[in-house]
Symmetry: C2
Subunit: 190 residues, 2 copies
Amino acid sequence: MPYQLLQENILKNVKMSPSDLEFICKYFKPISVNKGEFLLQQGNICKFEGFVVKGCFRIFNIDTEGKENTLYFAVKDWWLMDIDSFMNQTSSELNIQALEESQILIIDRTNKETLYKESSIVEKLFRIMSQKAVAAWQRRLIRNHGLKAKERYSYFVNTYPEIALKLTDRQISGYLGITHEFLSKIKRKN
Amino acid sequence: MPYQLLQENILKNVKMSPSDLEFICKYFKPISVNKGEFLLQQGNICKFEGFVVKGCFRIFNIDTEGKENTLYFAVKDWWLMDIDSFMNQTSSELNIQALEESQILIIDRTNKETLYKESSIVEKLFRIMSQKAVAAWQRRLIRNHGLKAKERYSYFVNTYPEIALKLTDRQISGYLGITHEFLSKIKRKN
DNA sequence: CGCGACGTTGATTTGCCTCAACGATTGTGG
DNA sequence: CCACAATCGTTGAGGCAAATCAACGTCGCG
């Protein structure tokens, strides 16, 4: 049941009646994504907000020198989108790619706006989710400045062991902001 | 009129009637802050959310080695708080210090909760503000990974010239995540 | 089987840090 | 208002973290 996971996720953020939950869930459509498939590519407009039910995604940017910089990975129970492009319908700087066979629930912008209008608890839900996200991004930035590559690596595998298992070293290095060669050298020394 | 600035700031995010604006503003209290004064120190709980009317603040963390890492600067028309500590009433990892004689409007957590309950447009307002903030933090992280120190410096002074003018090089280096000695060397070459 | 992506390793270079010293500026107390 | 201290910006020498480039064996997949 993909919707059960979504309902549980919502309830982690706000208390809500079963009927409200049902109501919200109706707006989300399940879709399957093949390994390697892109849900979004840089330069396009992000037309959806998604909730991962199964599988794994990588959200990353490719800079002018061709370097891939991974913003985050989204596995089961994570949300995924380019929030900037989705909100403002502007050209996205991000790519969203499935790293394995995956399943997600998506909602498009029109339905999202409808949801906001129909139920003020939805405003609250996404207000809280966004505020938590801000806090998380701030802490991530502090860690990135304060820790060396090896410490960031340890932090990542300790904090998200189940995600780390799904990833290649190259993918992890793109998240840490280092080269894959250097990650290999880090791992060698213990 | 400190409240006029706040009202204009709010209107940048959501359309709202003058009476709603008035209603919201009533919950904010103006306070003056002396240069050097701390509104928040690491280890304490953030008891307020603030909107800067005048002056300049620095929001930073001090890590275990004593290095100061600046998350952001808040000048006129910016919001300021430790969102994590304020939401969850947990111990803060941030310091908020006035860099000059300043004036802000603050609201405490109880009043904020009241506001949310009384008016669903407030939910929407802070939902949108938070979503914009998420987008901004994500882009900041990408820049931090993709750009070299010199490029980050150029980006900062070009994007926030009026803030850069108020700051010492040491403060800027703490924001860029480099030492002040290295910033000095960057500036020399060109 | 063969090809492409992967992880590894070494040699070299580069970006940035550390430490130390100095003069210039700012702030402060007498 | 001055004298002194503190903080600031600058510079240099040296060191370390991480990038770059190149080569190699391995593995999974078509």
